[in-house]
Amino acid sequence: MNRLLQDLRYALRQLRKSPGFTFTAVAVLALGLGANIAIFTVLNGILLRPLPYAHSDRIVEIKGTGSDQYYMMSYANMLQLRDAVGARMRIGVVMNSSMASIVAPGGRFQVQKVDVTAGLPAMLGVQPILGRSFRDEENDTGRNRVVLIGEEVWRKFYASDPQIAGKSLTIKGQAFTILGVMPRGFSFPFDEQMQIWSPAAIDPASRSSMSGKQVAWGDLYARLPDGMTVAQLTDQLTRTQAIVSKESTDGPPIPPRIAVTEYQQSLNQQVRKPLALLYAVVLGIWALACLNVTSLMLARAVSRTREQAVRAALGASRMRLLQQTLVESLLLSGIGAVFGLLLGQTAIKLLWRQIQRNLPLTNAIHLDWRVVACLSALTLLTAIVVSVFPALRAMRRDVQGALHGVTATASASQNRTREALVVAQLALTLVFLVGAGLFLRTIHALRQVPLGFSQQNVLTGGIILNGGSQLDDGESSAGQPSVVRNSYLPLLDRLRAIPGVQVAALSSVLPLRREMRVSIITNLDHKDVPYGKEPRADGRLASPGLVDALGIPMLRGRFFTDGDTPSSPPVVVINQAFANMYLPNQDPVGHSVSMGNKGRFSDMRIVGVVADMKQWNVTDSTKPEIYFCLAQSEPGTPLYGIATAFIQVAIRGAVPADSLRAQFDKALHEVAPDATTTNVKTIHEAVEDSFGSQTLIAHLLETFAALALLIASVGLYGLLSFAVAQRTREIGLRIALGAPQANILSLILRRALLLVAVGLTIGGALAWFAVRFASSYIYGVQAHDALTFNAVVLVLAAASFLAAWLPARRAASVDPILALRSE
């Protein structure tokens, strides 16, 4: 222990004495470790950290599947599956999930209200920290006006009131009793939103109805029975389901097969590969940092040759010399790790918005013991890696030579080692630069895709009214007051009156917002068409002004106007894709579209054709679309149910869109005090968000590539500076003998050129193979794009030239008198 402390004290003294070396080494290690820890923190939260349930790896999601089709599963079907396995398998069902606006002592807030079966908390193995959980009978109709609230709701809006159990809460005009508070961090379905849970009202008929109006739908979750694997459960449930689907002949299609997935996997499935790719990149950055610092340590070891020889002559054993080197590396690595941790956590904070938008389970992303353990292990590994070569050198026993100054300079093999390290850094850097280049071009290509609408000064947002006019499942809308007349049209009037607003419009779907998709089957011109060949399209409700708000070109005819009312003939507008597919080579205006055989919607006229625009994804081709006039959507008409559930607003302003947020919110709550909004953002933000994780990956790769370039340049600069220092006497002699400056410059630059050429060649080959792992993420550019590769080579060559130029200039400025005198 004493020896260790002695070595530590000495190492600290040595580092203080060499501020330049220490700063460079610590900075490089901090960058390498910081990038690593930042990505690991994200990866840990999303992939490794268990969900906040007992033995969360045993919680599974059970879905009905068939041939490339998604099936909803009825509650009765779920009970049959449960019965097939028996009491060993505990299940929980989420029957409904919607946003709700709540007024509490701490203010008004939006929560996700989740209607569940009473056994769900028990299935998850979670008990409330205050109060009690649900009882089975609370799923009965009339007994389900109770809630459990999330810890965040309790803390922020009820000031952690210990007497909360038994208090009342109003949701959508109905009173609920608070039963208790769920533990901190609990969330189900796992989400970032604040949540409250309530037992779903399940009437007795729903427990056995597989069809008809009594059917209850939901999402099924279960705890794997002890000793059973996912595969075994899948087999058993699929066998049961095969029997169930054969026995049910009427009603909606029953899924023929069952898919069972670990719940956590189902949440993070899509990001596993991108995160793995990112972690591979930061491991590369770490390796680069280690190579760089190893090179620095090796140069330093040369300058400490005499010291090591003296220590060996005075009795230091090889292991003792090794220990000393390791302690110094560990100290450097430890200091680098501390700064790296700060850097990494800062980087996460700066990128938090993008992380939240593009990745799931982000509320689990924070520092925990796994991250600290990873950092500690990496710090130790770094210390070992960067000290290998210097330690081997220290253990060499050419004591007498070193004492007499024979080996006070680096040997040829040591120089070759350092050069190899620099070549490796250059090669790795080229790989990162190619990756960054490809992603930059991908984002550029995505941004060049014609969207079909304008992005300037348009604010968008989703609206959920939450009023009494909202339909419950299965309820008929006929005879209900019209939300369109009572809420949406007055809202439009208020929005249009806001100063700075040019146009305001409503639509059930806005481009690239991906909140809702409604597919409909129609009939054109009352023609008989074989089953399966009917025109299919994405259906949208829209108000007049939508094309102006979004800048969508009208190709033929007109869009909806204020003259389109519930009493005027029903009209529709189609897009170009619909016209091309179902009315080719014809003027679509005037043709008839039908939904059903009776009523006003059985004969609607096409009055206009809008240009195609990107709806779901910028890379997908546009699907056929039909727009229905919102004002003509009345209770009892086919698409009215969509209007009651959700609508989106598009506001084009003469002012920046962001400045309209507060006024939009005010106008909405004047018309519908209980309304909640979702994802209020500019259309430009919606477009950027639609690129998904590609934007995040591109930004990260740009940063990492810049880091790599900096580290490699520093490495090359350090190597050449050291070489110049070593050759000072030789250079002085050459100058004294008449060598011109250009000759000295080329002496240094030639060596640099060789190293860079070798590095670029190896790096180019590595990059050629490495890009295939990223090929599924790039768009609009080939993986082996010549322009990208050439540009990267030029950038790296330029940076390397700059790094080599400074030492070369210094060499050419050596004073021969001083250089020769110093011998």
Binding site: Y10, R13, L314, G315, A316, S317, R397, V399, Q400, L403
Partner: protein, 234 residues
């Protein structure tokens, strides 16, 4: 104390083999003060390196007391050297980042000694060499003579049986050199066996025996006539 039999050392460079020590036979008794002399390239430093067990490339027999050093492996030789031999260098070879006290403590830190015992030994040596006031100074703050004094203190702090000195006054002026040589005499009188390498005849007179090397051969080995030498011990 030391017996060398047919010790030889050569270096191979390509096809050529250069002999720096040829069939050296030498006996050094305990308590002797031996001077090794000869022209440059004669093999003086090579002989010293063999005696110090720093060099492994020699052939022949080397007996250190009863211990056959020629039969020991690298680790055993290093252990023997650490216990029984101290070395003084021409260039002092103090570590610039350690204080005087820390430099003296350095060889002790490589033994398994309790920290308190080491502190005591360092304190004794500082007192003995009258450099207590300088214990917290760094080598760059000392004169050449003072640095060599510290180098000698470091070499004898663990009370070695054999002290080897390679041109110990080579970088000192004459007054400092005399002080250092008087110190060696004092140590020798106290029982330390000393072998020094020097070019200086004056330094050689402080010893009791001269060994001369030429081209790796031991050409002369004679005892010096005793002379009266004024010893001023500070």
């Amino acid at each position: 104390m030391i017996e060398l039999k047919n010790v030889e050392r050569s270096y191979k460079t390509g096809p050529t083999e250069t002999w720096v020590l040829r069939r050296i036979g030498l006996t050094i008794k305990e308590g002797e003060f031996v001077t090794v002399m000869g022209p440059s390239g004669a093999g003086k430093s090579s002989l010293l390196n063999v005696l110090a067990l720093l060099d492994d490339g020699w052939l022949g027999e080397y007996w250190f007391g009863e211990t056959p050093a020629h039969k020991l492996n690298r680790k055993q030789r290093a252990d023997l050297a650490r216990e029984r031999i101290g070395m003084v260098f021409q260039s002092y070879h103090l570590l610039d980042d350690l204080t005087v006290a820390e430099n003296i403590d350095l060889p002790l830190s490589y033994k398994n000694l309790p920290a308190k015992e080491r502190q005591g030994m360092v304190a004794d040596i500082l007192d003995r060499f009258q450099i207590v006031a300088k214990k917290d100074l760094f080598p760059s703050q000392l004169s050449g003579g003072q640095q060599q004094l510290v180098g000698i203190a470091r070499a004898v702090v663990h009370a070695p049986a054999l002290l080897l000195a390679d041109e110990p006054t080579g970088n000192l002026h004459s007054t400092q050199a005399r002080e250092i040589m008087n110190l060696f005499c004092e140590l020798n009188r106290a029982g330390t066996t000393i072998v020094q390498v020097t070019h200086s005849d004056e330094n050689a007179r402080y010893g009791k025996r001269i060994i001369e090397l030429r081209d790796g051969w031991l050409t002369r080995d004679q005892a010096l006539q005793p002379t009266t030498v004024e010893v001023n011990v500070q």
